[in-house]
Structure formats: structure tokens, C-alpha cells
């Protein structure tokens, strides 16, 4: 994984302490350099943390330090005199992206990890971060699979003559920042219920267009209710005004729109919303009255083959 990608993993929840390697080989300051050389050769590592008798990290000794000392003929020197004391460390409670940034800024390959008392508790490599990242993705996938499993059995598990699930969402007027939020939730829920992906897609497109209509046009926003039963999903979208001036044109005439220029610049109001909705729905009913509001009801059959078309 490239460095710039590692620094971009901002949403990671885990901390350095959760992904670091705990069994760290270290040396005491009193250790002779010849012993350090042996450890490096056997373990195939190029640097070792130096830890005092209290467990505190006090330095790092590298191959370069050894070469310098040996070059000066000091074969019997100890670690204390030759180690580097300027330390780049991370804390076990640091977030992983802090550590990733440190890797990128310093160019080092591994970082000693210390606790709040300055004691060495582990070592962190870029590989540790990648492994943690993969683990998190896997966990997220598993959680979603569990949600799906539970939800998709709801219609089997609940005993009644007719079971339906009612999902209600309130959409605030002009709330462009959250536009599509209700539709995203409807989409996720339908997916978890085990709905066919093509039907989920059509429901998502229709509910998105309806939701944006509430945000763009409705005086006080509105409500979206999604009713899911074993046979179909029904979306009811209601507001209390201003009402559609010309329902026929809004439904039939490509490009017909009453959206303001300002909102159109954001890419809305192309005069396609209701047409998109109709294309996605198996059934659509639209009622609108100026000053009273608009009621839209659409339904999509969940099992196209069984119902026929």
C-alpha cells in the first residue's frame, strides 16, 4: 500500500496499541556492541530499541551506530555511548493515522511504541497498519452480513397473516447537505431484507428523486414512509405545500421545471425527477393541490416473476 493511501485512512477507529507488534527485541544500555551485532545478524534487523531497567525507552541503536563505533576501533564499547537518543516514537493510544503521518514525514520503517510512562510496549511497522486496516474491513463486512442475515429472516420469523415493516423518515426543507440520507437508509434496509439488487436500485433512485423534491420544493419539507411486506415495497411521500403547478407537464414534459436557477446550478432541477420515479415504479399515483401539498405513492413488486407484469 502506498504511503499516501496510508495517510488517507482517516476514519480508522483503532489505536496503535491494537495493531502494534508486542514482542519486541530490545537491548540494555550496558550491552556490549559485539552482542548487539550478533542479535542483529541472527534476527536480521537493522536497529534495536534500548530500554533501561525500569522498562523506559532511552535510545535506539542502529547498524550505522555499530559501523561508526567499529570504524573508530571501539570494539568493546557499550550501547550507552553509541546509541541515538533523539527518538521518534508513537504512543500506544495514538490513532493509527497519526502513526501513518509520522511514517510519511520521517521516512522511517518502524516506530517504537511507548505508553504514558515512557515505557517501551511494542513496535509498529507500516505492515501492522495494513493488517489492522484489512482486519477492520473484514469486521465491517461481517457486521453487515449479520445485519443482513437477521433482517432477511424477519418475514419468516414473525408470525402473522400479513406482516409489514413501516419505515418513516422526515426530510427537512433546503437540507441539501443531507439530501439522499433517507434514501440511503431505505436502500440499506431493503438490501438487508434480502431484496433483489435491481429492485433495491430502482427503489433507491425513486426515493432519492422524491426526497430531493421535498428538499428543493416543499415549504416545510415532508415525510417519506416506506412500507415493506413480503410482496412489495410502497413509498409514500407527502408534504403540505406548495403543490405542483402543472402535474401533467411535470410528469410528461422533459425538462419542465420550476426549480430556481441557484439550485439548478448545483445539478438539480433538470425536469426529470418525476419521470425518473415513474420509470422505476411498477405503480405510481400522484396527487397535488396548490396550497395543500403533494402526495406521491409508488410501489415496486419484490418478486417480478411471481406477480407477472
Amino acid at each position: 500500500m502506498a504511503d499516501q493511501e496510508i495517510t488517507r485512512v482517516q476514519k480508522l477507529k483503532f489505536r496503535v496499541g491494537q495493531v502494534m507488534t508486542r514482542n519486541v527485541i530490545f537491548v540494555r544500555p550496558s550491552a556490549p556492541l559485539l552482542e548487539v551485532k550478533e542479535i542483529m545478524r541472527r534476527q536480521r534487523i537493522s536497529g534495536l530499541p534500548v530500554v533501561d531497567s525500569n522498562g523506559a525507552l532511552i535510545g535506539v541503536i542502529s547498524v550505522e551506530d555499530l559501523l561508526r563505533s567499529f570504524g573508530q576501533g571501539e570494539f568493546n564499547a557499550t550501547v550507552r555511548k553509541n546509541m541515538s537518543k533523539s527518538l521518534i516514537t508513537v504512543s500506544d493510544t495514538d490513532s493509527v493515522d497519526t502513526a501513518a503521518q509520522k511514517f510519511q514525514q520521517t521516512g522511517v520503517g518502524r516506530l517504537p511504541v511507548v505508553n504514558a510512562r515512557g515505557q517501551l510496549v511494542g513496535i509498529l511497522t507500516k505492515g501492522d497498519i495494513t493488517r489492522g486496516l484489512l482486519h477492520e474491513i473484514q469486521t465491517e463486512t461481517q457486521d453487515e452480513e449479520i445485519c443482513r442475515y437477521r433482517a432477511s429472516h424477519i418475514f419468516h420469523d414473525v408470525e402473522s397473516d400479513d406482516t409489514s415493516l413501516l419505515l418513516r423518515y422526515t426530510v427537512a426543507p433546503r437540507d441539501f447537505n443531507n439530501g439522499g440520507g433517507a434514501s440511503s437508509k431505505i436502500k440499506r434496509t431493503l438490501t438487508r431484507l434480502g431484496t433483489d439488487s435491481q429492485i433495491v436500485r430502482r427503489a433507491a433512485i425513486a426515493s432519492y428523486e422524491a426526497e430531493m423534491n421535498l428538499i428543493i420544493h416543499a415549504d416545510h419539507g415532508g415525510q417519506i414512509t416506506a412500507k415493506v411486506d413480503a410482496l412489495q415495497v410502497t413509498l409514500r411521500v407527502e408534504d403540505d405545500g406548495p403543490g405542483i403547478v402543472d402535474v401533467r407537464r411535470a410528469l410528461e414534459e422533459p425538462g419542465y421545471t420550476t426549480t430556481s436557477q441557484e439550485i439548478r446550478q448545483m445539478g438539480f432541477g433538470g425536469g426529470m425527477g418525476l419521470k425518473n420515479i415513474r420509470k422505476c415504479a411498477d405503480h405510481m399515483h400522484l396527487e397535488s393541490e396548490i396550497g395543500l401539498g403533494t402526495k406521491l405513492e409508488i410501489s415496486l413488486r419484490l418478486h417480478q416473476d411471481r406477480q407477472g407484469n
Partner: protein, 114 residues
Amino acid sequence: MIVRDIVEKLGLKVVAGSKALGRTVTGGYSADLLSCVMARAKTGNVWSTLQAHPNVVAVAMLLELSAVIITEGALVSSDVIAKADAEGIALLWTPWTTFHVVAELAHLGIEAQE
């Protein structure tokens, strides 16, 4: 082809959704009118647009697009980045025009799916 290939070959900046770079790109679509995108972009398509507001993320997520390329150097605000990161939508950024990007994508063999 995956999103990462496009990032590397076109030299795009990954501004959000770095977790999603392994997604397969099924084809391409380009428009700045969101309803057009809703009507015509297909699952897994890479979408190039000069729109950069939060709704772009919602559209990409609802349609399960593989990535969004924000063109013309449009400014991407931090709330858009946060939203895309949260939803796992790859947001790629370039100062190039949409036409330039589409031409490069076509050169890579990414096609329209009519």
C-alpha cells in the same frame, strides 16, 4: 480495471474513500445534472463531474458507483470528504476538464454502458 489503476494512470488525487480503491470499474458516465446520473449511470461506473457538493456522495452511494472524479479543480469541502470517507466512496480530484478526463478514460478502455 480497478479504481486504483485509474488513479495511477491519470494521476488523480485521492481526496476521500481510499478504502474503496480496489473496486472494479464497469464503465464510465459523465454529467453534472444529478437526475441524469440517477437515470443513466450504472452500478460500478466511474462518474466524472464538476459538481462537488455532499449530494454527489449520496448519488454515488445510491447507485453503487465505483468512484467519482471531480473535474475542473472544483473545491471539495471537508464535509464532503468526511461523508465520502464514511460511506466508502472514492472521490478523485483533478484540475483537468471533464472532456480531458473522459478522453483519458476512453483511452484506458473504459466504455459507456448504454
